[in-house]
């Protein structure tokens, strides 16, 4: 461990990693730096620090937030993400348990349809889904929850039933022999055991819904702009993009994600690995 040769080797690797880390952080830092520059200097000198001529303070933030109504966008994004995640976790854990414990042609068919839905790209159903959502009046922040639960049903059910298969039946049987009904057994016995899977499902879905662009754009994008829709809206028609406002809004969009990540890092990385390996 501590031979001089080995130690110098370690120092070289450490420096190499530090340089790489800087390269990974640089794009975000450059955006942050430019968010305080006047929009007239952003495209001509994006890699220079703001100076007396180019510094504009909070102006880009105020202008950007006004243009895209950032506070509203944040509210819609938060509302839709939180309630979609709750809905998906609850609905798919219940379905996952039912499909694992009840074996009929019906449950098998539903299970395979759900698995199939995971490999179908969104473009396949994009047009027909948004028309259906329109006809059923799901084109509002509450209706869109139905769509998210529907699209999230595949992965959620798949992950919950994958875990439930590993739980021994005896506990549930004992509860039911003692007279517990199926809902009592599920919520008192099974649900508490699903905690780690529920965290994984919640994290994967939170990341997906929060960052999702097309689904909210197509269904509720005119009246209720979530953060990604609002940011893309800054591009407007064919006019030039206000890069000052854009930089400020990118920073505001990244801050909640970075806070969430730093607070839940361990769960997030484990969740993403579990999702990748099982999905």
């Amino acid at each position: 461990m501590s031979t001089p040769k080995k130690r110098s080797h370690q120092i070289i690797l450490f420096v190499l990693l530090a340089i790489l880390a800087l390269f990974f952080l640089a794009p975000m830092l450059i955006v942050f730096m430019n968010s305080f520059k006047s929009k007239f200097f952003i495209s001509s000198e994006p890699f220079k620090f703001p100076n007396a001529d180019t510094f504009t303070g909070r102006e880009n933030y105020i202008e950007g937030a006004r243009k895209i109504k950032f506070a509203n966008a944040f509210g819609y994004s938060l509302f839709i993400t939180v309630f979609s995640v709750i809905g998906i976790s609850l609905a798919t854990s219940m379905l996952g348990w039912y499909l694992t414990r009840v074996k009929t042609w019906f449950t098998t068919t539903v299970y395979y349809l759900l698995v199939f839905s995971m490999i179908v790209p969104f473009q396949m159903v994009m047009f027909t889904m948004s028309k259906t959502a329109n006809m059923l009046h799901l084109d509002n922040p509450i209706g869109i929850l139905v769509l998210y639960i529907g699209f999230g049903a595949g992965l959620g059910t798949f992950m919950f039933s994958g875990f439930i298969k590993t739980i021994p039946l005896s506990l549930e049987e004992a509860a039911m022999i003692d007279g517990a009904t199926a809902p009592q057994t599920f919520f008192m016995i099974v649900y508490p055991m699903l905690k780690s899977t529920a965290i994984t499902v919640a994290i994967l879905n939170a990341m997906w819904v929060w960052n999702d662009y097309l689904l909210p754009y197509l269904t509720i994008g005119i009246e209720y702009k979530t953060i990604p829709v609002a940011i893309q809206y800054l591009r407007g028609g064919y006019g030039a993009v206000d890069m000052g406002a854009m930089m400020a809004m990118l920073v505001l969009a990244m801050i909640p994600i970075i806070i969430f990540y730093l607070a839940m890092q361990k769960h997030i990385i484990q969740g993403v690995i579990a999702g990748a390996v099982k999905g």
């Binding site: 990974f24 609905a91 539903v110 473009q123 994009m126 059923l136 998210y148």
Partner: protein, 281 residues
């Protein structure tokens, strides 16, 4: 027990299933059917057989998007996986600060595609500014811009999967190889790489699939410019649906072909992992 659970079928099944039928199943069936119809809204279709599929190829848009997408995906799969594997090796070598580095490298993966696209729009335009060009001046800038963006987003993600794979290798296996006199190169080639073969399969297919499905980043970075030359499949389908009146059916037919392509990749992965499990058993 099965009987007493079945009494509550409606409670357990209906919430998720109803949403699934509305959001996915009905639109999916309608989508397949409508790919054989001419329509502008979903209720005014005329059956036209394979006509939509024929019209996909009346211009070179779709073929160009397919070629661009294949080139983009193949290069990205290679560079992402090499980069991620190299980082995973460095981060399992017992260097100080490993956790901080892992946190940093993974971070871009959490940022949404639209935001990512605009971040790199700024940076690439900044680099090209001195030449008087932007990311949409020449398709090659858009192409390499998307490759760099994709690498930045996915290297950290694949890295954590490779790290998990490397950490699962039994310590005794590595010790034994060292005692037998294996050098770093042999260790890598004969112990580490064969042991993490499942991780390699997962990461290859994950990057392959996300490369073909890429949409948000494509829209925000280049929006397909100049002149549709950096348009990938998903964006081309979107623009066919919403950018060309009278082409809704063609868009739907393209979506069916796109789905078949993505499904084939998924089935290949399934066959791969099945084969490996059988070999292991």
């Amino acid at each position: 027990m099965q009987k007493s659970i079945q009494k509550y079928a409606a409670l357990f099944v209906l919430p998720a299933l109803t949403c699934f039928v509305i959001a996915f199943l009905v639109p999916m069936i309608m989508g397949v059917v409508l790919s054989f119809f001419r329509f502008t809204t979903v209720l005014d279709g005329h059956f036209i057989g394979m006509e939509n599929y024929r019209r996909i190829f009346i211009d070179r848009e779709f073929t160009n998007a397919l070629i661009f997408n294949i080139r983009f995906t193949l290069i990205s799969v290679v560079t992402i996986n090499l980069g991620a594997f190299a980082l995973a090796l460095l981060l399992t070598a017992g260097i100080k600060g490993t956790n901080v580095f892992r946190t940093i490298f993974f971070m871009p993966n959490l940022i949404g595609g639209i935001v990512l696209g605009w971040i790199w729009n700024l940076i690439i335009n900044g680099v090209l500014y001195s030449k008087g060009m932007t990311v949409v001046s020449d398709p090659k800038y858009g192409f390499w811009g998307l490759v760099v963006l994709m690498n930045w987003q996915n290297i950290g993600y694949m890295m954590v999967i490779y790290i998990a794979g490397i950490q699962n290798i039994p310590v005794e296996l590595i010790e034994a190889a060292k005692i037998d006199g294996a050098g770093q190169g042999t260790l890598l080639k004969s112990v580490i790489i064969p042991s993490i073969a499942p991780s390699i399969t997962i990461c290859t297919f994950l990057t392959l699939t996300s490369g073909f499905r890429l949409f948000d980043q494509n829209l925000a970075l280049t929006a397909g410019d100049p002149g549709k030359q950096t348009e990938m499949l998903a964006l081309n389908i979107f623009n066919t649906f919403y950018g060309r009146t009278g082409f809704e059916g063609v868009g739907q037919a393209k979506a069916v072909l796109f789905t078949i392509l993505v499904a084939l990749i998924a089935l290949t992965q399934l066959a791969f992992s099945r084969k490996r499990e059988e070999e292991a058993a």
